[in-house]
Symmetry: D2
Subunit: 393 residues, 4 copies
Amino acid sequence: MISQGKQRIVWAQAHMPLHCMLGERFAQRRPLAGQRIGVALHLEAKTAVLILTLRAGGADIVAVGSNPWSTQDEVVAALREADGIEVYARRGETDEQRQANLQRLLDFRPAIVVEDGGDVAVGLAERGRGAAPGLIGICEETTTGVERLKELHSAGRLWVPAIAVNDARMKHLLDNRHGTGQSSWEAIMRATNLLVAGKTALIIGFGWCGKGLALRAAGLGARVLVAETDPVKAVEAALEGYQVVRLPEGMSLADVVITATGRPGVVDLVALEHAKDGALLANAGHFGYEIDLPGLEKRASRVEEVRPGVHAYELPDGRTLYAVGRGELVNLAAADGHPVEIMDISFALQILAVEHLLSRGAELAAGVYAYPEGLDAVVAEMVLATLGGQSRS
Amino acid sequence: MISQGKQRIVWAQAHMPLHCMLGERFAQRRPLAGQRIGVALHLEAKTAVLILTLRAGGADIVAVGSNPWSTQDEVVAALREADGIEVYARRGETDEQRQANLQRLLDFRPAIVVEDGGDVAVGLAERGRGAAPGLIGICEETTTGVERLKELHSAGRLWVPAIAVNDARMKHLLDNRHGTGQSSWEAIMRATNLLVAGKTALIIGFGWCGKGLALRAAGLGARVLVAETDPVKAVEAALEGYQVVRLPEGMSLADVVITATGRPGVVDLVALEHAKDGALLANAGHFGYEIDLPGLEKRASRVEEVRPGVHAYELPDGRTLYAVGRGELVNLAAADGHPVEIMDISFALQILAVEHLLSRGAELAAGVYAYPEGLDAVVAEMVLATLGGQSRS
Amino acid sequence: MISQGKQRIVWAQAHMPLHCMLGERFAQRRPLAGQRIGVALHLEAKTAVLILTLRAGGADIVAVGSNPWSTQDEVVAALREADGIEVYARRGETDEQRQANLQRLLDFRPAIVVEDGGDVAVGLAERGRGAAPGLIGICEETTTGVERLKELHSAGRLWVPAIAVNDARMKHLLDNRHGTGQSSWEAIMRATNLLVAGKTALIIGFGWCGKGLALRAAGLGARVLVAETDPVKAVEAALEGYQVVRLPEGMSLADVVITATGRPGVVDLVALEHAKDGALLANAGHFGYEIDLPGLEKRASRVEEVRPGVHAYELPDGRTLYAVGRGELVNLAAADGHPVEIMDISFALQILAVEHLLSRGAELAAGVYAYPEGLDAVVAEMVLATLGGQSRS
Amino acid sequence: MISQGKQRIVWAQAHMPLHCMLGERFAQRRPLAGQRIGVALHLEAKTAVLILTLRAGGADIVAVGSNPWSTQDEVVAALREADGIEVYARRGETDEQRQANLQRLLDFRPAIVVEDGGDVAVGLAERGRGAAPGLIGICEETTTGVERLKELHSAGRLWVPAIAVNDARMKHLLDNRHGTGQSSWEAIMRATNLLVAGKTALIIGFGWCGKGLALRAAGLGARVLVAETDPVKAVEAALEGYQVVRLPEGMSLADVVITATGRPGVVDLVALEHAKDGALLANAGHFGYEIDLPGLEKRASRVEEVRPGVHAYELPDGRTLYAVGRGELVNLAAADGHPVEIMDISFALQILAVEHLLSRGAELAAGVYAYPEGLDAVVAEMVLATLGGQSRS
């Protein structure tokens, strides 16, 4: 298992040229020497490369998972045993285990937390101001996490500066659009072996992720429906050529339903009443609560895993609905997560944000900060330098 | 001529449902009664509908053109003679005439200026603080104009609040992307009767307009090259599947070159040296200075209008380059400008901004203001109500 | 008018590189010296270049129009007066005039007829075997014409060999798909100044033309519906991501309706009952009989030309429907027809077919012949030699 | 293993509605009762459903694999043990084993052979006319197989009628375009976890498969290059907006190279010399001989499987090239083959062809026959009946 995990890490590393560039600089200058960094991310191969690059810069690291179903145990094993990193995570871990692991990360007293989804920030808010004595700042990866940070700040419960890495132009333009778009569809194709062309796909939420999901749906030959509550985004979707629908209408037409709203229970039991027999249900938002699968399970006469990662819910009314990836982030639950190059970019942004907070964080008041514009351009220039067959003056 | 102009206005009106809704409210409540509004826009049919809607709300209006090559004389005639609007503009007017007209607009002492490109704002800045005694505020339509306003404000020479209507989400997502995208290509096809499929198109500038130009180029079957100096936007273009190039390389490959940067002389004589024999040159940015056609004319052995709106520049080295629409905004110089529905939306945003400034402008300090978020949603809801075959909960 | 027509011909010639190559060979070798060629095509600038190229090869030519609404009088004038070609055609000519012109073409006793739509072949069949004494063969340009030729042949009334130039791979892959696709949409945009993005477009018929219309509709941001009676083509449309509909359903959803079936009365009064208020109606098939506009006119309370080439039909039930280009081939009736490069290819195929019939036609029995495979490749190689930025080993 | 294979078969069956319809008819009427059918296809779940449907119609069946790397052992086990089907195949079987299995199939004396690639037909030709005494006819699934059949027929060595199922309109429009297009890219994404957007993809061969590969490459955000020796197809590719290249130029630009030509050694060592460091190499043609991987292996200093199904070839010049799926059909070697619905259609065509040959084959001379037009429409109507959210009159 270790060797399988190591193999994946090596493959990722070979396709993360920005981390290679950063790793070379880090190995020479050790800018993070002695700094404690807490990592709470999806623990798969690309995250491992981030962790190893941070360590190459001299950092001490404790890592936990940000979602119990995205953790890849073989990668965790390789990090622990081949690389000696302190990792607390297991695929399918219980809520109690997650909380215990989170506590371990806090006990480590990190100077910087790099996280995905905001659970550490929320955990800190719950524990009160003194819970993280040496903490300088937080780097947050996702739309969901940034929204939670802003809520904490509004409520006066964010004690440190936090950088909205998600809002870097290089992040949401690429990660949410291209990363989520490609990898979610790849996961659905892999899990089901079904054809996308000619299918009707309902994308719920037309934010950065939803836009990517719709783009790739169309690119794979699907007819695209969009359900979106923000009227401006709904108009935007209509002008892209997608059919804007209300949720019940969309559910009744869709062969594939994908959520990307960040909001719990968007596809509730009422919406599921409208779903077609045979519909595929998947979630591309950070948390696994957008589709009410627990509720559906109660209503079902039978639930069975019919292909790896695909659960059939047989309903008393004769319909069968299929959940792909248990309603968790489908690209991580049923495939290998974002494409390697996307995480190379997103984590390069994280690394520069970590450096930025270490050098400037002490001057900053608590709050949620935009990603520094200049660092965005630095990463963009690195990408342009590596893009095959592309050049620019 | 009047009847031809009137016919165009009637057609536009029939396809501007938002103006119909606003016009009904205005006719009943007359919220602009007695207010002076100065309009400096492209004077064609859709602008005429805006002007007539403002007047239906009770406003007194003086209008001038914002670009000498976008003025449609028959529309001006219809506005003047059929509708009794005070208009000062003529297609192909000289700089002196433009300045005289601008002065007339200022002499009118408008409370609000609705403009496109910022010439009024700049004219005011040149004349000094006292030049527009009753002015409450400015509504600016374009990226270029907003940038000029910000420069004026930085230089301490913007005396009133200005609303960046261009930055409304409903504006740049729709007008710049879909309006410029469709209408610029339509103009090029109309002017040249040439095939787009299989051609190599170079889009210079990957802002909102450039994105729309690239999207439609691909949609029409062209191979798309993008030249862009902002590295983040360059990466974005590459991930859309476009080939990112340096300007000289792009010029040497392109059959069609379109500028959308807002910056003067982007395609200078050095760049034109690289252009292919037979290349088409067009501009989709606000001002006609992005391609150095005056310089090219000096260098040419012969310049001839070979189709309406298409000038051939025969060069001593044997190449012939074709300028479409004289290097001015190609969709207005060689076609009818933005599609009607786009201007229905953009001008509905303008009307709400005018109302907003009239009711709140007196409280606001000089400066450039974001478009009020709530008004964006109001317009979006109006659009959704009219969208054929689309619905939303 | 002559000079305007001449200008268009010169422009076309400059963008028809295949005709330049063929013209050079023809001028040197005069392979058509003394041959009589009858041309019955859409008389606009590109056709003029074909005619002039044939004459450069030594042919004597009489030309008539193939559709009264596609004739461009200024091009006819230029051909007649500047170039001394015998042409009988006038825009909007009556049926009697057309028949008289057709008779003139037959009286000329052509050895070869190059035509578009099959009217000459049908006229010959009606007149009986002796009507065209010296005729060697026919070259037919369109799907419609080829179908009529096959019907004539089945009925034993085709007296000579005819080459289905339409069925050349270089013809339907390019002309019908790319030519019709681009130019029909350009004509609709030009005639209406309306936005395509966000509209619902119904394409009736999913043959080569329909595929091109759907491709460009999607490329311009429309949501695409397809009505098609052949189940195989209907499945094909569905898998391209288009929504396959029955005609009444499609009519009730569509903002723009385009016919491309080759069959009369496809959009009859029953179908028009389902049309939405404000719908645009256009035809991209060869004949102007696919939409029952004469029937609609009878039912209308008022018919008015509201923009050049756009007629509003106000119906007693309150709806207004708009016909673009009078229901005739919309790209010719409301714009300049196919893009120049497309006709360069299609007419190069014609020229090679003319040469082929002159050298081999006497050996061939009456019947409809496939386009000679080798000539297809000859034209393809010529195109590849001219394609900007493209290369091939 | 049996249960895993059975689970896959059950999943496929649930998503093959045409086979359900056919299976119901077969179970009632048993039209194949007592007929011997030899199956030589890719042995995975969808093929199993075909086999089980044929058996439901009463047929006796012997099955062998058509490619050693596409056989899924768990499906073979399930067919054998759960369903009692006689199957001779094993993943990775040697050439000797394949030949022995092929002999077993011939010894079974099938009345009909359903095959993929033409190996049975070639085997029969090698063995001489008497080798298959009761054989009525052959149904061939692929372009490659049809070409081989035609060669055999030209050489006078095809003894029975063969139906080119591949040439059914419902086959190549769907299977080659949509099946190969989607599943090959899914396999590459799955095997590598790399991003497609922004990559440069070289498609070698622009036949039905190549068109599908190019379409999905563009749909996933790649920049598409096409190498094609047929000039007509090359022009077609150029007009779709792809960049037509010569092979060496294409190899030097491409991040991903996919072959779909049906010809051996298209990507030879000379071509591989031009490949970029890090390039991915995959094959979507029937046989695993399009890329010279054996030659590359000899030249390599090291070959290692770096992810499941991905082999790294480290070359003395410092480049590393990655072969995905061993150069075999990538969708079968690195994923689950065509999407289920595609095989539902293709195999429904096969079943109708089998019935057709059984009822009419005895009347037919040896030769390669087009797919019966009427049966194509029957299958198309079945598909339309099942298409979600689609309707047609």
